[in-house]
Symmetry: C2
């Protein structure tokens, strides 16, 4: 296998639902590590500094959900719909149980999948994400985000540098390095997501903010050891959502990073991958590692 | 040197303020690791599972503040007063800069010392503690705590098992092991703190809840890499206080533990000491490790 997100070829898997694009690389491991991506993100939005460090000991699978990047179909307007696609993908690939790293939107889908099927994940890493009934989840209309999203002088991934990283010199420098790393892959890149992807995913976020019955009660059945990670200055999905996750998931450790926002895992990639690795290799039914 | 809290002899250091009791053991290290203890706790309240694991690579110093355990003098009624005693102790011992593990009351004193002298600590580990202006700090009159503190059927350290560990079977079992470990030291034990210690320390907590000016602004000058740790079910100093610490200290990582309360570091001692060690040995000006 290739062992880098920069060079791993895009593959396609036909299922009875859609044909999904994915990249698979790294070391064969008992439990593959499924990466599920953020709002409008594709396979190309995974930072090789994160994926490749974890590829040293794990069978890494980057996945495009339906209608995103090279995958066929329409983007569902609910998290439950996206969870069904990811489950179909894993099923057709013959994977009964794996580990998951769900970032932002991907972390929500991972929670939904764990509720649908308690066996699908052995361990979960949830970064910059939110429980059902969380607050201030992906409100891109907020001035703090809108000013960058509507800034026509920002080119390509420069918007990500602005919205994933707080405005300190140190964080912006880390953001610049991050977008540089995203451009290291030169060939076989994914199509960029268009406005219809954004609209459907945003509808799913709006639905995810709603809850009925006892708030956060739906986290209780998720018994997997879980590592929750967030930057303390996350403007897109504020850290309070990670507090709720770690307080209500029965078996979760929380790790927060200073001087960091939504992109904390990319900014502090050396620490993040060290922590994630220690968490994943721990042979324990409990989250602490 | 001895390398266990169970066997290290109690030593005494005469300063121009008081004569302080302490125990020192472990491996010689460039930066000693100063342990500062919780409300009414003495040298005997340190869990050997925590101290001895860290003693493998660190020069461990357990310290009784003035008026506590074997130290002479009166317990100050302010954190600033206790900070001065700890600084006098370090100064007379010839230690200009060390690392610190401050638990609960000890974590407050550590913050106060770092504000008084930016050089006194290289790295800080703050467990189950609170910033100035925090909330619900050590309100022992709360029914959830008072019911155990007034339960005359609880003997010796059994009260600690009840108030440091949540009422789940798993946590109570860990609490029972903890108090068993505290009894492993058979000789040369400290005098137990009396009501005058409790009253003075409680007065200091009440003063610490008050703030003037911009809330948490006094955390900004504390630039040391800091690891903040808390159990999510801490009834004595709730986890919200650790959220405020990690959000307002400029260089702090937060780690929270599931199914754990005030005694999270003792309950999850294997994880805690592994994390603390990784944090302490990291050669970085930044907290993430």
């Amino acid at each position: 296998m290739s062992n880098s997100a920069i060079t791993a070829p895009t593959q396609f898997l036909q299922t009875n639902k859609e044909k999904y694009a994915y990249r698979r690389f790294g070391k064969k491991s008992k439990y593959p590590l499924l990466f599920m991506q953020h709002f409008t993100g594709t396979l190309d939005n995974w930072d090789p500094a994160v994926t490749d460090a974890l590829a040293a000991n794990h069978d890494i699978i980057l996945f495009d959900n339906a209608g995103v990047g090279g995958s066929t179909g329409k983007v569902p307007t609910t998290m439950a719909g996206m969870a069904k696609h990811a489950a179909a993908f894993l099923g057709t690939l013959g994977i009964e149980t794996c580990d998951v790293l769900g970032f932002s939107l991907g972390g929500v889908i991972a929670q939904r999948m764990a509720l649908d099927n308690s066996k699908v994940f052995r361990k979960m890493i949830l970064v910059g994400t939110a429980p059902r009934g969380g607050e201030d989840i992906m409100h891109l209309e907020k001035p703090s985000l809108a000013k960058f999203l509507h800034d026509t002088t920002l080119k390509g991934y420069e918007v990500l540098q602005k919205i994933f990283f707080p405005p300190t010199d140190t964080s912006q420098a880390a953001g610049k390095e991050f977008i540089g790393r995203l451009m290291q892959r030169k060939q076989d890149r994914d199509p960029i997501a268009g406005p219809e992807v954004a609209q459907a995913q945003m509808a799913a976020f709006r639905e995810w903010e709603k809850y009925s019955g006892s708030r956060f009660a739906d986290l209780k059945p998720i018994q997997q050891p879980t590592l929750v990670v967030n930057g303390i200055h996350d403007e897109m999905i504020p850290v309070a959502n990670s507090y709720w996750l770690s307080e209500n998931l029965p078996n979760a450790v929380l790790l927060t990073y200073p001087d960091a926002g939504h992109g904390s895992l990319f900014q502090w990639h050396e620490s993040f991958t060290r922590q994630a690795e220690a968490f994943l290799i721990a042979d324990s039914p409990y989250a602490p590692y």
